[in-house]
């Protein structure tokens, strides 16, 4: 159900990314020990679809999916399912479950339980207060053919569906006793019954969770560094909102992993002997999406949009307030996202071009250097997005860059609540900072499709873009689909819908004793292969 990712306060980015990390040296892996993981964000309801950063770092280690998306290559590998087949019309996905898998309450993993999970995602459950999962569009149903064979059926082909089946927030398989509970019951982690390498030992309110290793675990995804049970005996997750405390604790050895290291703190971590792990959050780049709902806004003029794009110097933003952990965007998608296009030709900084475009749009430089047209100043209001910790500093650099092109920017910093209510109603909401993360190019359809999020909020639908978005979903040939994604990116940037700022990134600080730290494909910790040296 609900609770989208970035929804919190301090939270940074949402998303996905990939990857493994951390030193390979340190000798043979050591089994045992307790790893302490500090997170800045409090834990909220533990609904299986909760993608809040703090929650998902924990949940990913408790519940598993039928298939595993390799965070590096983006390929799909067997996990709870030992094999699968997709029908020729791409409407039926048949899975053969691995034998001998049990939930943490001892019950076996069966086709019936899988069906129960998918039905709850696809249809929701009104009686239990569980809404349908927006990821599961065009769901026709699931059949349990026999104890170990499941068929998932769709009403329309969807090239992005296989990723959804591997996605922690869309397809984690949980035990029957949890699924029979209502929304609040599912939101209590102590009720969780999963198949993961760790089980919940204790929950301390909204501030902490302790996981302990499951001794009989033996079904790690293909491609893991070892088999059998996890190395770590215990993992302690804890909310530590104060940045200084998180970093200090890494240095003093009190914590071994700290999530969400700000760009200006990165050096403190490495100077203190720690490791810095930057995981690309795959999916869309973090951008300013142009809002086209107000017909009187200057951004309705294509030349204004392209002019602002040309006035944006991403390299300077990166140098001033970010770090090498945040790659420069060269596409609508973060580097590493499969089938990603190349939009670098649209993203060059060119102040002369910006000035020419804005002049051409009829905005002439006024007495104080700010452009004027029909007595109106070219002035925009940007809000610091509460979901991204680098938002304010990035927008401030942008403010000075656009000023050089005669564009005035005021920045305000509303609270989360004010931000959300202004987003819905303010007429001067011309730019929306954001990104949606999923390790699959179909994320562009999720965002830009008029029948989906429609991130530009345009009052006149862009049918060309809609057709392109729908076409790639039905295209199963990788090369043709890649061309389709490129066509979408060309459309987005030639229409100036998006001004990318930086590639979304999740930065972890690790103590020198941590080895084999990995995340699943969207930047959520997967601690199965992680171990601590003495």
């Amino acid at each position: 159900m609900l609770v989208a990712a970035a929804v919190t306060i301090t939270a940074t980015a949402a998303g996905c990314g990939g990857g493994g990390s951390s030193s390979s040296a340190g000798g043979p892996p050591v089994s045992g020990g307790t790893l302490t993981f500090y997170d800045p964000v409090q834990y909220q309801a533990w609904a299986p679809t909760n993608s809040l950063w703090s929650n998902s770092q924990v949940a990913d280690n408790v519940a598993e999916r039928l298939i595993w998306q390799d965070p590096q290559s983006g390929e799909y590998k067997p996990w709870l399912a030992q094999s699968w087949q997709i029908s020729d019309d791409h409407l039926a996905y048949t899975f053969k479950l691995k034998p001998g898998i049990t939930f943490s309450d001892g019950t076996p993993l069966t086709a019936d339980v899988v069906k129960l999970n998918f039905d709850q995602h696809g249809r929701g459950d009104q009686k239990l207060g569980i809404p349908a999962d927006p990821f599961w569009t065009d769901y026709a149903g699931t059949d349990a053919v026999d104890d170990s064979t499941v068929v998932v059926r769709l009403t329309k082909p969807n090239a992005g569906f296989i990723q959804i089946l591997s996605n922690y927030r869309a397809s984690s398989i949980l035990g029957k006793t949890l699924l029979e509970r209502d929304l609040n019951g599912q939101g209590d982690l102590r009720n969780w019954v999963g198949t993961g390498p760790f089980v919940v030992e204790s929950v301390s309110g909204t501030n902490g969770v302790t996981l302990k290793r499951r001794e009989d675990y033996n079904w790690a995804p293909d491609g893991s560094a070892h088999t059998g049970k996890a190395y770590l005996e215990r993992v302690v997750f804890k909310t530590v909102p104060e940045t200084g405390t998180r970093i200090g604790a890494l240095q003093s050895g009190e914590a071994q992993i700290a999530r969400n290291i700000a760009p200006y703190d990165e050096q403190t971590v490495t100077d203190g002997g720690g490791q810095l792990v930057a995981i690309p959050v795959k999916g869309e780049t973090n951008d300013l999406t142009i809002q086209l709902k107000n017909p009187d806004s200057p951004v309705q003029d294509l030349n204004v949009r392209l002019g602002l794009q040309a006035a944006t110097d991403r390299a300077a933003i990166n140098k001033a307030v970010l770090s090498p952990s945040y790659p420069l965007p060269t596409s609508a998608l973060v580097a590493g996202t499969p089938l990603r296009g190349d939009a670098s030709k649209y993203l060059n900084y060119d102040l002369d071009k910006a000035n020419a475009l804005l002049d051409g749009a009829g905005w002439k430089t006024g007495p104080d250097g700010i452009r004027v047209k029909d007595g109106k100043r070219l002035s925009f209001h940007l809000r610091v997005a509460p979901y991204y910790q680098v938002s304010q500093s990035v927008l401030e650099v942008l403010q000075s860059q656009w000023r050089k092109a005669g564009v005035e920017v005021t920045i305000t910093n509303p609270s989360l609540t004010e931000y959300e209510s202004q987003e819905a109603t303010a007429p001067d909401w011309d730019f929306d900072q954001g990104q949606t993360s999923t390790d699959e190019p179909s994320v562009l359809r999720t965002s830009y499709g008029s029948d989906r999020q429609n991130v530009t909020n345009n009052h006149i639908p862009d049918t060309t873009l809609n057709d392109l978005l729908a076409a790639q979903s039905a295209e199963f040939d990788a090369d043709k689909r890649k061309a389709g994604i490129q066509a979408i990116e060309d459309r987005i940037f030639s229409q100036g819908y998006s001004i990318p700022l930086y590639d979304e990134t999740q930065v972890f600080g690790l103590a020198p004793t941590v080895h084999g730290f990995t995340t699943e494909s969207t930047g959520r910790a997967w601690l199965y292969d992680t171990w601590l040296s003495k």
Binding site: Y38, G124, G129, P134, G208, V240, T245, A249
Partner: protein, 341 residues
């Protein structure tokens, strides 16, 4: 005395109800709520039907007055409702958070009282003038350095520097000392300020001069005369200090990463989790009311004149202890002198 207490209890119930109602009105007047914020978030991508399922589940589709009376009815039955973001009952969340905060606030209170007494004694009785002057300035310093600064400095030196204390709560008493001292310093500021002044004021009263004239030394005068007389204003302030302890614990718990009511509040405020906030408001009000009730009831034990001056028809019979300070000068000088060591 009984009517006095019954009155107080009645007033307390009224205060609780008012706090509950006022917070409900104020929080409902804010745009949005925890569930609508989640629905409005673009990442949630919920269809209108799915959003309706959520609103129905949490009862947020009903008119406001109905929500108010339902929750008030549940409250009278002892049910504080469910958190909108956490899926746990508010009582469970509070039960989880309260003990930690009580430990923190309790130790902080002890530390602040001890600090206040030491500072006030030094400020009034130290032989050197500069020590007295310095001590008099301390409360101002304590009050003006923000809690988070004290907290971060304490962490930097004692935790990350000397590894004396853990940086975040590990359940041990050692982990409690630094945050409690941080919070205690904040609360010690007004306590010591008032105690300094009130000791000075008491010492200038005629009965003190009389005692001194009869040969009592400073220690005797302090123990038998000054202490009790100058503690009344401090007692009043202690009642108020519990408000400061609650407010201070928000910051202290964040800096020291201690689970507790403070952190619960921060989370609930930022997500607009109304039932949790209501629970926190009620708990804080209840504590406040109880502490002040205790203070009110304690007054007459320290100063029996209170009941008399309030026009109470009945004179409260004090326990058969030695007479009050006011009576000291009336006692035969021999008794006083005999007690001088």
């Amino acid at each position: 005395m009984r009517r006095y207490i019954l009155n107080r209890v009645g007033q307390s119930a009224l205060v609780l109800w008012a706090a509950y109602t006022l917070s409900f009105i104020l929080l409902s007047a804010l745009p949005g709520d925890a569930v609508r914020n989640r629905i409005a978030n673009p990442d949630a991508q919920l269809t209108p039907e799915a959003a309706q399922v959520l609103l129905n589940y949490y009862g947020l589709n009903r008119p406001l007055w109905e929500q108010y009376f339902t929750s008030l009815g549940h409250l009278l039955g002892g049910d504080l409702g469910f958190s909108l973001t956490n899926g746990q009952t508010v009582s469970a969340l509070l039960a989880d958070a309260l003990p930690a905060t009580l430990r923190l606030a309790g130790l902080a209170l002890l530390i602040s009282i001890a600090l206040a007494i030491v500072i006030a004694l030094v400020a009034n009785y130290a032989p050197q003038k500069w020590t007295r002057a310095l001590s008099t300035q301390l409360p101002a310093l304590f009050a003006s350095v923000p809690t988070f600064v004290v907290g971060i400095l304490a962490l930097q030196f004692f935790s990350f520097g000397f590894h004396l204390i853990p940086a975040s709560d590990d359940g041990s008493l050692t982990a409690l000392i630094a945050p409690a001292a941080t919070l205690g310093i904040l609360v010690a500021a007004p306590l010591s300020q008032v105690l300094i002044t009130s000791i000075a004021a008491t010492r200038s009263q005629p009965f003190v001069h009389v005692l001194a004239a009869r040969g009592a030394d400073e220690r005797y005068i302090f123990r038998r005369g000054v202490l009790r007389n100058s503690s009344l204003p401090v007692l009043t302030l202690l009642g108020l200090a519990c408000g400061e302890l609650v407010a201070g614990s928000v910051v202290t718990e964040a800096v020291f990463a201690r689970p507790g009511v403070g952190q619960l509040t921060v989370g609930a405020v930022s997500t607009q989790d109304l039932p949790v906030l209501q629970g926190v408001v009620l708990t804080a009000t209840l504590t406040y009311v109880l502490v002040n009730l205790a203070v009110d009831v304690a007054y007459p034990f320290i100063d029996p004149r209170i009941l008399v001056s309030r026009g109470g028809a009945r004179r409260y019979r004090r326990p058969a202890r030695r007479s009050s300070v006011a009576a000291v000068p009336l006692r035969p000088p021999v008794a006083a002198e005999a007690a001088i060591p």
